[in-house]
């Protein structure tokens, strides 16, 4: 079925060093994967490579048995793989609705795009309410929701979310994970990159640990969540700076 296979990917920026150094990973259709790893491990780089925004130097990416590495970003979208970047970057001087329309840019069929947007408005009434507002006037959570909805206009089979909870208040983080749960229920394959490792793993089937751009370690999410080494490295570690902050 719609399996995504990443094989020995080597990638980096410009003439810089290799960030991903022979990474392999298999993403099975219909499951939710949470990728965790320290800052700078190459998590964002990996999703950019899959999205066709960065050409890998070596290796292959197969989707449904066909190679997709080397395709342009619009061609990857055409195959049903969407990407929601971590800076939830919208088009600031376009309205929410115009942003959603841009989500359907590659469809070239405006009546289809309008129909999809209507469906999204039913699913997320807040976006309908805000449809004529400029994106830059939205709150962080609303921007993230718009950013996810913009990807949903293409009805992707696989959606990659890069740190969707970054910089959001706890209550809003809760809402975003609620949205992700809706996508899961719809049967989408989800590749979730999360700083908030605990929340991410709690909402995933599989956990993937990426370190130094090298081979990742993949286990069912519950196992990763309870693995003492992971707790030490990624779950325990997070609370320390917070405690330090509280002590100040």
């Amino acid at each position: 079925m719609g399996t995504l296979v990443v094989e020995n990917i080597v990638a980096g920026y410009g003439s810089g060093p290799n960030i991903l150094r022979g990474l392999s990973l298999t993403i099975e259709a219909g499951k939710t994967y949470c990728i965790i790893g320290p800052n700078g491990a190459g998590k964002s780089t990996l999703v950019k490579v899959i999205a066709g925004l960065l050409k890998p130097r070596e290796g292959r990416i197969m989707y449904k048995g066909e190679p997709i590495n080397g395709l342009r970003a619009d061609q990857v979208l055409q195959r049903g793989i969407c990407y929601v970047p971590s800076d939830r970057s919208l088009f600031p001087d376009m309205t929410v609705k115009e942003n959603l329309r841009m989500g359907g840019y590659i469809l070239r069929n405006s009546s289809l795009v309008e129909k999809r947007i209507e469906q999204i408005f039913i699913q997320f009434p807040i976006l309908k309410e805000k449809r004529s507002q400029m994106a830059k006037t939205l709150s962080g959570g609303q921007q993230q929701l718009t950013s996810i909805a913009r990807a949903m206009v293409l009805k992707p089979e696989l959606i990659m979310l890069d740190e969707p909870s970054l910089g959001l208040a706890p209550k809003v983080v809760q809402q975003i994970f609620g949205t992700i749960a809706i996508l899961r229920d719809q049967g989408l394959t989800i590749l979730l990159v999360e700083q908030n490792a605990r929340k991410g793993l709690e909402n995933a089937d599989q956990g993937v640990v990426l370190d130094l751009g090298m081979n990742s370690f993949e286990r069912p999410a519950v196992e990763v969540l309870h693995d003492p080494r992971i707790q030490e490295l990624y779950l325990g570690k997070r609370s320390r700076p917070l405690q330090a902050e509280a002590a100040q």
Partner: protein, 291 residues
């Protein structure tokens, strides 16, 4: 009182042409972050094309826009393709563009001097010297035609950006290049097209000013300063801003010229540039830019 209104009319009659001259430059900056210091040189290049068509075949300069616009569009596409396309990912891209376009302006000036010498030129269709008389007021026909055509072109450009698929892709690229790529916009193609469209506007401006001003190859030096101030005052990348600042400064310059003499008019633009950089560097309708 009549004089005050007369001066206002003359200022407004030039505003549209200034707006057309700066529209392409602001578009090119907005989409690609290219500071096109050769913009005025390209405008003069187009003015020479109109001049040549007029001299050899008596082609009306307004009609010759049908030549200058597509020719300058192609020049823009090629120019972008050859000099900028491969550098678009360079972190110091904007700095590079300043140097490259400045050098280009000098090259264009040199070639035009070689081809057409330094003699002052202009085209002289019949309407170039006739005024419209409205009650106690007069306004040169040439300026009325030039400004009306300019406004029509800018409005068309605006409608194109607002309501077509390619136009939306251009606006999206202006607002957030990364996001545009994420939704599948081919930003390299959009950049090339936008440069072409920007120079097509410069082409139209060249044809129109061929009959309202005299020009010579090094005239671009005076105009680029004026264009910079219009673009910066409007907010770099803002089409409506460039339009607003063009009319505003054209009218102010018109009064300055009337009360203090025409030699002082250019000061208006430099003073405006100076003040805007001091007090509102993002311009009238521009957005604050980080990085």
């Amino acid at each position: 009182m009549i004089q005050i209104i007369q001066v206002l009319i003359l200022g407004l009659a030039l505003g549209g042409v200034y707006a057309l001259m700066s529209s392409g430059m602001t578009l090119i900056f907005g989409v690609m972050r290219i500071v096109n210091l050769a913009h005025a040189a390209f405008i003069i290049m187009a003015a020479y094309i109109s001049f040549w068509l007029f001299k050899v075949w008596r082609v009306d300069p307004i009609v010759s826009m049908a030549v200058t616009m597509p020719v300058m569009f192609l020049v823009g596409v090629l120019y972008y393709r050859v000099l900028f396309a491969s550098r678009a990912d360079n972190p110091r891209f904007t700095d590079i563009t300043v140097l490259v376009t400045f050098a280009s302006a000098l090259v264009i000036e040199g070639v035009l001097s070689y081809l057409f010498t330094g003699i002052y030129r202009s085209t002289s269709p019949v309407y170039a010297t006739r005024p419209f008389l409205i009650g106690p007021f007069f306004v040169p026909q040439s300026q009325v035609y030039a400004t009306l055509i300019s406004i029509a072109l800018i409005v068309s450009l605006w409608l194109f950006l607002q309501y077509t698929r390619v136009g939306n892709a251009i606006r999206a690229t202006m607002q957030n290049r990364n996001s545009a790529q994420v939704v599948g916009v081919n930003v390299a193609l959009v950049s090339m097209l936008s440069f072409g469209i920007g120079l097509a506007m410069a082409g139209a401006a060249g044809s129109l000013l061929s009959f309202i001003f005299t020009f010579f190859p090094s005239k671009h030096v005076a105009w680029i300063g004026m264009l910079m101030s219009l673009v910066v005052l409007g907010g770099m990348g803002s089409l409506m801003g460039a339009m607003l600042s063009s009319f505003l400064l054209a009218v102010i310059a018109s009064y300055v010229s009337f009360y203090w003499g025409p030699t002082w008019a250019p000061i208006t633009f430099y003073l405006a540039l100076f003040l805007i950089l001091l007090f509102r560097p993002q311009g009238l309708l521009g957005k604050k830019m980080d990085g």
